[in-house]
Symmetry: C2
Subunit: 199 residues, 2 copies
Amino acid sequence: MLASRGTLIVNLLSSPGSGKTTLLAETAKRWKDRYRLGVLVGDIATDRDAQKLAPWVPAIQLTTGGACHLGLPQVQRGWEQWEGERLDFLFIENIGNLVCPSSHDLGEHTRVVLLSTTEGDDKPGKYPKVFRTSHGVVISKLDLLPHVPFSIPAASDDARKVQPHLEIIPLSALSGEGLDVWLRFLETQRAMHVCNDCS
Amino acid sequence: MLASRGTLIVNLLSSPGSGKTTLLAETAKRWKDRYRLGVLVGDIATDRDAQKLAPWVPAIQLTTGGACHLGLPQVQRGWEQWEGERLDFLFIENIGNLVCPSSHDLGEHTRVVLLSTTEGDDKPGKYPKVFRTSHGVVISKLDLLPHVPFSIPAASDDARKVQPHLEIIPLSALSGEGLDVWLRFLETQRAMHVCNDCS
């Protein structure tokens, strides 16, 4: 239904603190005059992330009260609050958890996992399911690369052993490096999955 | 049973890549002539962490094959491989996940959650259960503090709103800063929980 209205749904997964919220805020700043965006923000407790996003993009907080992932019914109820809106991109910011959310299909067109340079380049093999089920990997916090033991080629090789077709996008939401590649990736995904001449 | 033999059991919880393995390796290096240590290392896949620890401390890898936390039967089976050994400290390195492991009692005396400076100082309120059920919080990766937006007082306040008696230990396993406080914390926990004149 959303695809027929031209909305690409993107499910963002990562560990806590990998930079999902910051990436979405920076995406929204750059696209404010170009696309209509919305974010459904999942958290176990608090509405901190929705508050952070509110100046830049319409955001609805979904609070699980303890559950380690979002489920489809909760996402549907969140979406219904926008019923009638026509968005170009609907982002689902999942609970910070590299395990459970990978097992739950939220109806997304595109699944993206964030791996920050501070988490270590050995994580894809250790948490394979989220990498196996994703279309893209954002390697976030590129600005910290000089200070941490992390190799982008090693992380990319490890991720592609799990899923050879992964698109890998290193970026820093703080410095802006790599964000152009991220925005092109999203536009390409929308062109692939969503009709272009929706009524 | 382990307490009667003088073994303190410590359950370490955190997000992926917060530094559990590195902290345990540095702990083992400093205590190699002082205490007998053992580590049960939980991971979803691979034995990478046990391999990293092997030069410094006896480590048994527990692989869940997908489950988001360790369970008591698995920990018991791991421990049985050491049956007869007399350890001073048995560390359980849980799955990298700030949610699910907090709901599973592994028989530990002491639960410690690691929060790295790169994850953000807003995490205790967003993932309250793991902070509420822990005795100590290690704020790890102190060496990265100059490069990241993280306030130790803000993180400590947020954590103590959830659990006022939390002991908070900022450290860097890489630079060694704060490790003396960590080692004293462990010794104090052992003195509190475990008999001192075990046969």
